[in-house]
């Protein structure tokens, strides 16, 4: 498959606000290493999952992919163009091709705007329609694509008149109205109830086929990523520790963190119980990272080398794993 996105050694550090005293007396500036050297590529038409616990940097990474924030260093190539090198005009043209679906359908729709205006906003910002009639046609198409009914009446409703599932559909319609190639879906279903959640997941799969979309799908829920993704990257405190095809990663995890994550997922089957979870302690702070592997303190198998050298992502069988012991 053709490559759509290539991420190369991407880094985003956020400065930690230091107190007046420590900055007066030459305290060292500290950083939250939200994304700390991440490389991968996403093929055209693929659903690429980013999994990991809260604070692992998956949302920050998603925002970098769309250049919603600037990186500390590193590259994101989109269709061969470096997102952080091209000028404003070229970036604006590219933005039509990349969109985002947010986590919370209650917070991410402007309560004062009608559905029509919410979905039409990207068209206006990008001057994508030549006249009002075309704009309306595009909005209607997008709302039809996400199966929002009743059309056209629903265009004139406000978000508070809609259910949670309908709101998230509006969010998806807004994301697809410009016919983008690429969508970052940041926990798009974690706020939704079970039955609506399934509808949304199936809708996103359907839209990939119909509109030829590529997704980066961010979720903390591995059962959802298994359902949605072709490949999954597991992140731990700013770094990818393992990438592989969904089946292989879930059936044969290699990195000790991936193993622990998978072992902890409860199964909706009373005959399958969660066993011992092979992990110690609590999530490592992204501010004061230890020398060597950032997972060492939680790892059941850590050896001397893990305290000294940071493991690089390397190919093991058909996956990429960042572990000295793999």
């Amino acid at each position: 498959m053709r490559e759509l996105i290539r991420v190369d050694e991407l880094v985003k550090w956020f400065p930690v606000r230091a107190g007046v005293l420590s900055s007066m007396f030459g305290g060292k500036e500290r950083f939250i290493r939200a994304v700390d050297g991440v490389s991968f590529d996403v093929a055209d038409g693929e659903i690429f999952g980013l999994a990991g616990e809260s604070g692992c940097g998956k949302t920050t990474l998603g925002r970098l992919l769309l250049r919603l924030i600037e990186p500390t260093s590193g590259k994101v190539m989109f269709e061969g163009k470096d997102l952080f090198q091209i000028d404003g005009k070229a970036m604006k043209a590219l933005r039509r091709k990349m969109q985002i679906i947010f986590q919370d359908p209650y917070e991410s729709l402007n309560p004062r705007k009608m559905v029509f205006d919410i979905v039409a906003e990207p068209i206006e910002l990008n001057e994508a329609a030549s006249d009002e009639a075309e704009k309306e046609k595009m909005v209607l198409e997008a709302l039809g694509a996400v199966h929002l009914t009743p059309l056209p009446e629903i265009m004139y409703r406000f978000p508070h008149e809609l259910s949670g599932g309908q709101r998230q559909r509006v969010g998806v319609a807004r994301a697809v109205v410009l016919r983008p190639k690429f969508i970052v879906a940041d926990e798009p279903v974690s706020m939704l109830d079970v039955s609506i959640r399934t509808e949304m997941l199936n809708l996103m799969l359907e839209l990939r086929e119909r509109l030829g979309l590529t997704y980066v799908f961010i979720t903390h829920d591995l059962a959802v990523s298994k359902y949605m993704c072709d490949r999954i990257a597991v992140m731990y405190v700013g770094k990818i520790v393992e990438i592989g095809s969904t089946e292989r990663l879930i059936d044969r995890p290699i990195h000790p963190y991936t193993k622990a994550l998978l072992a902890a997922v409860p199964v909706p089957d009373p005959e399958i119980k969660v066993g011992e979870i092979p992990i110690k302690g609590e999530v490592t702070s992204p501010v004061d990272l230890p020398l060597g592997c950032r997972f060492q303190k939680r790892c059941m198998y850590a050896k001397e080398i893990c305290m000294k050298e940071e493991p690089e992502l390397r190919k093991v069988d058909d996956k990429y794993v960042a572990c000295h012991l793999a």
Partner: protein, 319 residues
């Protein structure tokens, strides 16, 4: 042995400006000592309201319209507010509220906040209370010396453990846990579920787990009740309910859940959305969304049918 908790035909409505909200409607179930029961259902199905009604921790616009709640032979609905507070709440029945791990007061030490709960309910000295705090903290896997920490020094998982410790501090027989793992990461969630299951065994505790996530119920509950629009639609041993669900809503709920294990199969969703409890649909409340609804379903409310082996479901299609 009589059941520890027997809820019969419990009905509770909220009075609002727009009308009556049928939050809990004719709910009946039993729980034996040492048993755990899970209440599954989507938001707004009345599962939290049910928990609050059992403890009578209701806002002033709530009305308990009928039924009974017998706990260890005591009719809780006949108890006055003062008696509930002095005899029942926390001493016999405790609750871990939804999101309560964020309910610790940030300017008081964790240990002091837990000992406050004991001092309010038991006539003991501060020293005894502090000893008890250390006991319950180690019971939930927190080093007792951390009693002197403030909430911000605890991680989310530790705060949730501390909340569970607070629920256990007066040695209750029964704990209601409302979405105790919802905001937690998966590894911490697994640890908390293990903790609950372990405590149950160690202390012969009974508990009620309220959760929208059926996999957490499958993990630690012996019995499961599925609620829809204020009613229990199906009740059974957890294994039976997951292997042989009979109510179309319970079936729908189970097949809507992605699983990490097994082959990938297409998930099916339940069309439509739950009804407005201000004016729930007549007949069976699920009929507008039901794939097998017949005429009778919109006219008559289905009765709870006994399917044998403590398995019950309320659906006209079950003969």
């Amino acid at each position: 042995m009589p059941p520890l908790l027997e809820v019969r035909d419990l009905t509770m409505h909220f009075g609002t400006l727009e009308g009556e909200v049928n939050a809990v409607d004719n709910v009946s179930f039993q729980l034996n000592k040492g048993e755990s029961i899970g209440f599954a259902g989507e938001s707004g199905c009345g599962k939290t309201s049910l928990g609050l009604t059992i403890l009578k921790l209701l806002p002033s616009n709530a009305k308990i319209l009928g039924g009974s709640v017998a706990f260890d032979g005591i009719d809780l609905l006949k108890k006055g507010e003062e008696e509930m507070r002095q005899q029942i709440r926390w001493k016999r029945i405790a609750m871990v509220f939804q999101g309560s791990m964020n309910a610790f007061c940030p300017v008081h030490k964790i240990g002091d906040q837990i000992s406050e709960a004991i001092m309010l309910h038991q006539d003991i000295s501060r020293e005894q209370a502090n000893n008890r705090v250390r006991e319950v903290l180690s019971l939930v896997g927190i080093d007792p010396s951390r009693a002197n920490n403030y909430p911000h020094e605890f991680s989310g998982g530790m705060r949730q453990r501390a909340m569970i410790a607070m629920a256990l501090v007066c040695n209750p027989d029964f704990v209601i846990a409302d979405e105790p793992t919802t905001a937690l990461d998966v590894i911490v969630q697994a640890q908390i579920l293990k903790l609950l299951a372990g405590l149950r065994e160690k202390l012969d505790l009974s508990f009620m787990l309220i959760s929208h996530d059926i996999s957490t119920i499958a993990e630690i509950c012996e019995k499961t009740a599925v609620m829809y629009a204020g009613k229990i639609v199906e009740f059974a041993d957890t294994l039976t309910l997951f292997k042989d669900p009979r109510h179309p809503y319970a079936k729908g709920l189970l097949s809507a859940f992605p699983s990490i294990s097994g082959a990938k199969k297409r998930l099916s969703s339940i069309p439509g959305f739950p009804p407005d409890l201000l004016s729930p649909p007549g007949g069976c409340r699920f009929h507008p969304r039901c794939p097998i609804a017949k005429d009778v379903c919109s006219r008559e409310e289905p009765k709870m049918r006994d399917l044998g082996g403590n398995h019950r479901a309320a659906c006209h299609a079950i003969s």
